[in-house]
């Protein structure tokens, strides 16, 4: 078995953001770490927008980032500490917008280890040295300087190790041009044989330690170590010299301390009124802003409150600023924006607004100022960046009857939880919809002048007449435009002399103005026509092709005429390439199932250059489209697109000199004949293909996309641009006119959102009624009824609108739970019913099933636990609740008490399998209770977390001991365990692939496939004779061991795994969702030749496309166990980012042309969608 792993939706969650000027001194850029992806965004000041500049897959984990500016330099370098055991200096090339390694220095082993530095990074603000520290013991200091040619040079590392010391944070202190100093928060846990050390007593003292890098003596000394609050968690350097007071801000719970030499000031933070008095106020992230006369820090508490910390004449001042969602990292941009990277869920971009006021200011360490969170006053939200971060469950099914399945993902945490319904394709925003009198047979958008980008008219052709709409603030019908209104239009356009062209069945009209219309009548009926600014081609019924050109005087002149000898079905002229007089090619689709490319050169006009034969003989070309596409204006390539009447689109490269065709690729896009037309996406030509769905082909950020739109199927569509939408589309669907634009380019899925109340945990689909049952349960949180009480208290205090989504709810303390069961209608995106759990019960498991004796009813069984404590695991009671599902509503039938946590439920032929703690049990439904029927003899090691059934086999998984396979024997009513895994794995989810095989994901970011040995099958035929053998087991475990047939390190914690099929007639794939909000797929590869090709491609790419952070790709994918039988598609995709020369060399080594390699990469992707 071979699998091809591919990330479909990259991680949305953010780990850290950093502000810097990476490409030029004035640039405002943000480096965003998404764990194993690094992105650079640039702020466009005028448009208040962020543009993505660069995004790269790292094949390694970012652990820390900092910016570093060499003394006297005007650009920042990005320094990254990762799991590669190397420190990497990156620069952003302003021309190519790509990150390049400036320097890479190895200091230790790879992996996220406790004593290998990389977890913390701190730079000297003057750019002379850098400290990189591990969580324990090791710290290295590097001196950075420049050599003669002003390249960065790095010294050998200077050690500042201290054994048995845990480091909480480090920062570089602004010392001017004195020796650089670094401050560290440390705890020395002492030796285990010393009875007074912290590791023995548990009593410790946190220290603030200053390390000085003596540049003269070239060594590091531990200069001062002073005791500091044990709650301190962050260090913030304060600019010194002329920029500020210098020193360091030590962030403790409830308190901020400014320490500079011997001076120390401390101030409490303003506190939320509803916050429990015994709970510390923890600051989770900060950002700082420095301008000529302004120096301010913005701190965010873990609840989401922002505090402004500033130094004024009186000293330190802390003020409540605003409340947004809790962030993992925030950064202030020079031009007055705030980028907030959420811990969970969507991120946002804000603008600073508002005036200075004096409310909620805290200036000393004794009085506490209280505030109630208010709606945004100092910030204004500009846009949000969607993120699925923390997907807890994912299901794929077509519940909306759309023909293709939707992906249902539970995402987010607490008040920011949601159910996202994802559909493959680009999201569309509709600008206008208008009804039309009849069903049109064509639509054209007409530019005002040949050079303008804005459309002046929209022409809609009906049978027998043509409607002309003038584009302005509104669309209005006009009749004096000079266009012929009384016949249907075959083609329309704008010519280079700014005349409009309208081609009807029996005339060609060139319209200079409404009174000045030149009309020419052809010798026959015109069937097809096409034009660009200077060229026009028409066909007459019977297969006569006529070609016209605009002569220098601005007159349309016939140049050539040719008999095609058969009916022409479609025709298209490409637009004139930059700097050329004419387009050289005309594509003609003919009745004999061929498409011919004809030359338009003055010598040999309309001679055939090449022919494209169509793949299946019966199909005919419905439309053709010649487009120049490419990743940049410099490397454009002419493509011939052919839309066939069987729903295929062919895409072929045309040699721009000879007109020869090569590298044909095909894609099935829908069941209807395909109509193609030209559109604009980010200023370059792109394709709209209309079939049973509408597709758009475009290039974006170095990648080629061909994706469907999540919008109604169109009959006709074309590009449209007006003042309001520069790159929109206008189309007709049945009897409506629609103007729309694509929302987010590069997006794979578009989503609709159903907000949820608590953190969602599990989801099941009710198969017959087609709705979703969702379990929501949240630790450390008040249930709804108590929240409402708080809310009324709040409202009494202040009249501001309270938005729980943003401000969150107070923490309730350990062991307090809020939980509910929700039923959602996926079509209307609304909640049908909600069942609140009371008495501090929380729902842990869910299954939808039927029971023997009650076949007509559908039941939902929910396992609940009362007073559950997470660590150590304890509870006061546990129940199995049986609900009858009646019309989207849950009706509690009865509650059965069980003695341990029922974390896993699974229907089993009219009965119910339940994992109660260590026991696997079989229950039947009774009138008052669930009736225990059977229990397995050999208990599980700790806790059964999940059960799945295939035929008679039961696959049950222990929370820390991987999957076991069991068998129920009716005759003696016993459950026997006969196989298990050799590796103890902490599974987060698993799915059954076939009778013998399971695929699983674990909490250490792995994916793997296990298979039962063939001997099991034989044994199961006669259980009576093998049951003693099974019971005896082998080496204190099950008799058979599952073989490990595939393994892959995803690098992201997958919480769900499902076997599904995302496309019509495509193969079944495995789909997973991760805590970072990524969705990935594993596609089976069945052909041996294909496997070999990808193995070789991977092998070469490991050499040529070296990961940016210096992590060895093979080592990364083998993080816990060696990678086996899985091809890393994300690595294969890197081929397209290589330079042309490397692509060529690699393709020669592989023995396949670059185009062939691209084609194969595309093919695998096309199998998914």
């Amino acid at each position: 078995m071979f699998l091809y792993s591919l990330t479909l939706q990259p991680a949305g969650g953010i780990h850290k953001v950093l502000y810097g000027s990476f490409s030029s001194s004035k640039a405002q850029e943000i480096a965003v770490s998404r764990g194993k992806i690094l992105e650079i965004y640039r702020c466009n000041d005028q448009a208040s927008s962020l543009e993505i500049v660069h995004s790269t897959e790292l094949f390694g984990m970012i652990r820390s980032m900092c910016t570093f500016r060499m003394t006297g330099a005007n650009k920042d370098l990005l320094v990254i500490g990762s799991d590669s055991g190397k420190i990497v200096f990156l620069k952003l090339d302003p021309n190519t917008s790509k990150l390049e390694v400036v320097h890479m220095e190895t200091y230790g082993k790879s992996g996220c280890r406790r004593i290998v530095p990389g977890q913390y990074l701190a730079a000297d603000p003057k750019g002379r040295s850098l400290m990189v520290a591990a969580i324990e013991k090791q710290k290295f200091v590097y001196i950075l300087s420049r050599d003669n040619s002003s390249n960065l040079t790095i010294s050998s590392p200077l050690e500042a190790h201290k054994g048995r010391t845990i480091v909480f944070d480090i920062c570089g202190i602004d010392m001017g041009f004195e020796n650089p100093q670094f401050a560290c928060l440390e705890v020395d846990y002492g030796e285990s044989d010393n009875p007074s050390s912290s590791v023995v007593t548990g009593i410790y003292q946190k220290l603030l330690v200053f390390y000085e890098m003596d540049l003269g003596l070239n060594h590091v000394i531990r200069k001062i170590a002073q005791p500091i609050d044990n709650t301190a968690n962050l260090l913030i350097p304060v600019p010194g010299g002329t920029d500020g007071p210098g020193g360091v801000l030590v962030i403790c719970e409830n308190l901020i301390r400014h320490i500079k030499g011997q001076n120390e000031t401390s101030i409490t933070y303003p506190r939320r009124v509803d916050m429990a008095a015994n709970r510390g106020l923890l600051i989770s992230c900060y950002s700082f802003h420095k301008q000529k006369d302004v120096l301010l820090f913005l701190l965010q508490s873990e609840l989401g409150d922002l505090y402004k910390v500033s130094f004024d004449s009186g000293g330190l001042k802390v003020q409540y600023f605003d409340t947004i969602f809790p962030c993992v990292s925030i950064c202030i941009l020079k031009s007055g924006y705030l980028f907030a990277a959420a811990e969970f869920g969507n991120h946002a971009f804000y603008r600073f607004v508002g005036e200075d006021d004096d409310t909620y200011v805290s200036t000393n360490s004794t009085d506490i100022v209280y505030f109630a969170p208010r709606k945004l006053t100092n910030l204004h939200e500009i846009f949000i960046i969607e993120s699925l971060c923390a997907i807890t469950d994912l299901k794929v099914q077509d519940l909306c009857n759309e023909g293709l399945p939707q992906i249902y993902a539970l995402s987010g945490k607490s008040t920011r939880s949601s159910l996202r319904i994802l559909r493959h394709g680009l999201g569309v925003s509709e600008m206008a919809v208008a009804n039309l009198p009849a069903k049109p047979n064509g639509i054209w958008s007409i530019k005002g002048t040949s050079t303008s980008n804005i459309d002046k008219y929209i022409l809609i052709s009906f049978s027998g007449h043509t409607l002309v709409l003038s584009v302005g603030e509104m669309l209005s019908e006009i009749s004096d435009s000079g266009f012929d209104n009384n016949s249907d239009t075959i083609h329309a356009g704008t010519l280079a002399n700014n005349c409009f062209l309208q081609i009807c069945q029996n005339s060609i009209r060139v319209i200079a103005s409404k009174d000045k219309v030149e009309k020419w009548e052809p010798p026959g009926r015109i069937s097809r026509a096409t034009s660009n600014e200077k060229q026009v081609a028409i066909t007459l019924a019977g297969g006569i092709l006529m070609y016209f050109e605009l002569d220098p005087s601005g007159k349309l002149k016939e140049v050539e005429k040719r008999e095609m000898e058969q009916e022409v079905l479609c025709i298209h002229l490409s637009s004139i390439p930059q700097g050329r007089v004419r387009s050289r090619f005309l594509a003609v689709g003919l009745y004999d199932s061929t498409v011919k490319i004809l030359s338009l050169d003055p010598e040999g006009c309309l001679t055939r250059l090449s022919t494209q034969a169509l793949p299946s003989p019966g199909c005919q070309p419905k439309s053709v489209c010649l487009l120049e596409m490419g990743h940049s204006p410099q490397d454009l390539q002419l493509f011939l697109h052919v839309g066939l009447d069987n729903g295929l689109v062919l895409r072929t490269i045309i040699d721009s000199i000879t007109g020869q065709l090569s590298d044909t690729r095909s894609r099935y896009i829908g069941s209807k004949p395909v109509k193609l037309s030209r559109a604009l996406v980010i200023g370059s030509e792109s394709l709209i293909a209309l079939s049973s769905r509408t597709w758009v082909a475009y290039n974006y950020l170095g990648k080629h996309y061909f994706t469907p739109l999540s919008y109604e199927a169109m009959d006709y569509a074309t590009a449209f641009s007006s003042d309001h939408c520069s790159e929109g589309f206008v189309g007709v669907a049945d009897k409506t006119l629609r103007i729309f634009m694509v929302e987010k380019l590069g997006e794979v899925f578009n989503s609709s959102v159903v907000p949820l109340r608590y953190t969602p945990r599990k989801m099941e689909i009710n198969p017959d009624k087609k709705f979703l049952v969702i379990l929501e349960s949240e630790h450390n949180s008040f249930p709804q009824e108590q929240r409402e009480k708080f809310r009324t208290v709040f409202e009494a205090q202040e009249n501001d609108e309270k938005d729980e989504y943003k401000i969150g709810t107070p923490k309730a303390g350990e062991g307090i739970w809020a939980s509910c069961i929700r039923i959602v209608d996926p079509i209307k995106c609304e909640t049908l019913s909600l069942f609140d759990l009371t008495n501090n019960e929380n729902a842990v498991s869910l299954c939808i099933c039927t029971f023997t004796g009650y076949e007509t009813d559908m039941f939902a069984v929910v396992g609940t636990v009362k007073d559950m404590n997470l660590n150590p695991r304890s509870h006061s009671a546990a129940y199995l609740n049986v609900f009858k599902i009646i019309e989207g509503r849950l009706e509690l039938m009865h509650k059965t008490s069980v003695e341990d946590i029922p974390l896993a439920l699974c229907p089993f032929y009219g009965k119910l399998l339940v994992g109660v703690g260590k026991f696997l049990r079989l229950y039947e439904l009774g009138k008052k209770k669930l009736l225990k029927k059977s229990e397995n003899k050999t208990t599980f090691p700790s806790l059964i977390s999940s059960i799945k059934v295939d035929d008679q086999r039961i696959f049950a998984c222990d929370i820390g001991e991987s999957v076991s396979v069991l068998r129920y024997r009716q005759e003696d009513n016993q459950i026997y365990c006969f196989a298990d895994d050799v590796v103890s794995r902490w599974l987060s989810n698993f799915t059954i692939l076939d009778h013998d095989t399971v695929a699983a994901v674990d909490k250490f970011e792995n994916f793997f496939v296990l298979r039962l040995p063939a001997a099991c099958e034989e044994d199961e035929k006669d259980i009576a004779s093998v049951k003693y053998k099974w019971e005896a087991g082998f080496l204190n475990a099950a008799y058979y061991k599952m073989e490990h047939i595939a393994h892959f390190y995803i690098g992201d914690l997958a919480t769900s795994l499902q076997k599904c099929c995302l496309s019509e007639g495509g193969p079944e794939i495995l789909l997973y969702g991760t805590t970072m909000g990524a969705i990935g797929a594993l596609v089976p590869i069945t052909k041996k030749e294909e496997v070999e090709f990808f193995i070789h491609l991977e092998m070469y790419l490991r050499q040529e496309a070296r990961p940016l952070l210096g992590r060895d790709h093979m080592a990364f994918r083998s993080f816990s166990l060696p990678v086996k039988n899985v091809i890393d598609g994300d690595l294969c995709e890197q081929y397209s980012f290589l330079s042309y020369n490397t692509q060529r060399t690699l393709s020669e080594q592989l023995g396949h042309s670059p185009n062939e390699i691209f084609k194969r990469l595309e093919e695998v992707k096309n199998r998914i969608f």
Binding site: G13, E136, V199, I283, S284, E343, A390
Partner: protein, 82 residues
């Protein structure tokens, strides 16, 4: 004799260099402390896992991280008396 002494010195050097490397006298508690510290360090280094933990406990990521760091000081409670 010198060989044995040399081996001993090498072992000590290894234990000095690699924190957590045990010897014949390492107690279960010490070994446990070492394992737990390694695990916490790994959880902190892998952001996706940290997200998972903080999601389950409904705490902020910063607090989860701080808790893990603090637990590294005394990960297994006080040692047994014997």
């Amino acid at each position: 004799m010198s060989d044995r002494w040399n081996a001993q010195a090498q072992l000590e050097h290894l234990q000095q260099k690699y924190v957590g490397a045990g010897n014949a006298d390492t107690s279960k508690w010490e070994w446990g402390c070492s394992i737990k510290r390694d695990s916490y360090a790994s959880h902190i280094g892998h952001h996706p896992r940290l997200l998972f933990m903080s999601l389950v406990e409904n705490e902020s990521i910063a607090r989860t991280k701080l808790q893990f760091l603090t637990k590294m000081i005394q990960p297994c409670g006080p040692p047994d008396n014997n």
